[in-house]
Symmetry: C2
Subunit: 477 residues, 2 copies
Amino acid sequence: MQLYSVSQLLKQKNKLPEVEVKGWVRTFRANRFIALNDGSCLNNIQCVVDFENTNQALLKRITTGAALHIKGELVESQGKGQNVEVLVNNLEILGDSDPEHYPIQPKKHSFEFLRENAHLRTRTNTFSAVMRLRSKLSYAIHKYFNDSGFYYMHTPIITGSDAEGAGEMFNVTKLDAKNPPLDSNGKVDYSKDFFGKETNLTVSGQLEAETYAMSLGKVYTFGPTFRAENSNTSRHLSEFWMIEPEVAFMDLPGNMDLAEDFLKYVLNYVLEHNKEDLDFLEQRLINEEKTKPQAERSDMSLIEKLKFVVDNNFKRVSYTEAIDILRNSKPNKKKKFKFPINEWGADLQSEHERFLVEKHFKCPVILFDYPANIKAFYMRLNEDGKTVRAMDILFPGIGEMVGGSQREERLDVLKEKMAVLDIPEEELWWYLDLRKYGTAVHSGFGLGFERLVMFVTGMNNIRDVIPYPRSPQNAEF
Amino acid sequence: MQLYSVSQLLKQKNKLPEVEVKGWVRTFRANRFIALNDGSCLNNIQCVVDFENTNQALLKRITTGAALHIKGELVESQGKGQNVEVLVNNLEILGDSDPEHYPIQPKKHSFEFLRENAHLRTRTNTFSAVMRLRSKLSYAIHKYFNDSGFYYMHTPIITGSDAEGAGEMFNVTKLDAKNPPLDSNGKVDYSKDFFGKETNLTVSGQLEAETYAMSLGKVYTFGPTFRAENSNTSRHLSEFWMIEPEVAFMDLPGNMDLAEDFLKYVLNYVLEHNKEDLDFLEQRLINEEKTKPQAERSDMSLIEKLKFVVDNNFKRVSYTEAIDILRNSKPNKKKKFKFPINEWGADLQSEHERFLVEKHFKCPVILFDYPANIKAFYMRLNEDGKTVRAMDILFPGIGEMVGGSQREERLDVLKEKMAVLDIPEEELWWYLDLRKYGTAVHSGFGLGFERLVMFVTGMNNIRDVIPYPRSPQNAEF
């Protein structure tokens, strides 16, 4: 007798006299119909129990969450909602699930309740679909870069450098917390710490990725990054995953081409491979939006939004043009923006980004050539002396999806910029070396993985798209 | 004119009148032959300069490490060592490389020197080959699991639990290092820390992976893990990457099948896709071993070792049998083992593991059913009450490659074990929940990624198979 996954059984075209399947009970109804799930797909296999010839005590143990081992016959289903079902010949309870105490009952649970039970929440349709999509997106990312000749690089998590300045960092230490050693100035003496200096959790692998791009040509990172910021919102995590490609000899237009091609590829990949999960999440979102006032509902359904990105060319617009458009826009004139746009140099907010994408251009937008003083030190200064070769890619609903730039490859310009920003050269001697020995134009971008998963799954809270979210006051599990 | 990578050019079968290529100079000899590399493969493209018609000042700037943009004609090579070469029509220096200061000269550098210049070491053949293989192995791992119906899962890096006990942990904190808040007992008050409790860097994602296996069925992790142990050896890192698959309804023999199939797949994958890099590293190892005394040389070449694993069935031997074999072995009787084997219960050392693989069985070995008291608390207790369903997979040269087990699925037995080891139930309430609600047999294993990369590349120091190694006193870059 052969053991099948639920996904394998549901794909069978013919009757099978002898099948075995193991999984967990989602529901048991009419003392007869078990909906069994094993995580291999969204749908359950219906297993039909001959209740008249089954021990009563055994029937009582078929409760939501119980683990079962079922042997039987796969036949065409008589009922609606499924093509095949298993007529149960033999049923073994592998693990009981006391209905008095099991938290995941077959009813609607709040996401907040499920966050508190994050170890069990993938036993629901919503979270199993989200995590299957998260996994498939990860795979699509690796496949895209591998097939395009990129090398995957693991940049360090613990870092001795805090020069990147992308955000507040966590300290990593083995010093005695209560009585740390002090130096002669009365400061904590990190030379006595594990690594012989102060160390933190990384905020980005970009600078290290540049070192590999300048030898291996095309590389990318996909790893965890950290922010010790006290922002308890539905869009921030203290620990999240980032994808950062970096390519030698590539300029900003090449960077735009890469990002657009990459994003379309991974979205297409899940549209092709995870239709069942996407259909389910689309319906979930429709139901959720029904409870909202009309104004807060989105114009597009989940899958329409994905196709909006896949099917449209990304419009490339300079920051300066975008400011003009925004300044002269209806919502600006009618003072509908929370942050009015008055002059060049303003940092764009989510409301502006969404206006450009959803109302003005009606396609994904790549903004480029931002004012130098609102962007990072390593971005390539343009000939105008006041803008840098930065780009942000804006998506409907969510705003910024990707941020990237051509990097400053000129040693003298980079050093000047670091001096202005008080970044010590000794901290980044190795980064400067790249500009001393065989420097060249190069570019890259960063994509916060959880934002992509939110976009693809339609989940509104970032804590619901990562298995065990970390945020201020929260490091459970 | 089309831009080609070096790898694309080397694969051309026909002449091409107009090609463009960008890369870095590896060598420039006879004022004429540039060996140009762009990281796309191990080999360089030879670019031939018409030195009589080229500006002298320009020729002087063609130095090792300089970045070039070359336009020319691709022709059959007249010389030995390559099929095609580029006759240069136009040469632009993108970035100079001052030969007086550039650390990576075309000569043999010590690995120690290259570790100090880890930002430049992938500009050498050895390290570019190692890192290309590291990347391809990562991809093969993701591909294997994806194609086998596993879901990739990101387990948390910052953890509030220290119950797994796999090793010393790093503390992650935002508290004021010099004047931490104290509670009424005079202890550091972690309730005031960022996460509201004491947090550390993870030592393993296994326990969290189990939660997902018990809902999604087949999952795996591939992420960074940490050990704050003060061991400054060539086999230990403070930060390294682990792969941990976990499968519901799978017992120990199934776990062995999975691990064997998986390891053979990933090794075959690089044998097929990275022949050039493997041939180079094999030759490197042969040259290195020539400098060693005969007794320290290995019996097999690098590729022979990989084929030894791919072509042999893994021999499955119980710990008890292995102890018998070792006790009665020649080296044990002749007191050649540093740690003599006298009795059942002894922990096996690398010398014993290598004897079993290389001398006795002459194939990879899976040892199983270890004494309970030398293994972790979560391993399934056998009916004999003294052994657990653990397995270690032993490879030639390197010893243990994989450690895994069937997990204890019985709530009462698990609780007893935790009580004996003083692991508080409150710490692992969520882990215990898996045994309360729909428990079932499940198993998994862990593979230290860097050990696999060492095995595949023949590198002897673990610091040479990860981009930026972290170890005691070392967190540079």
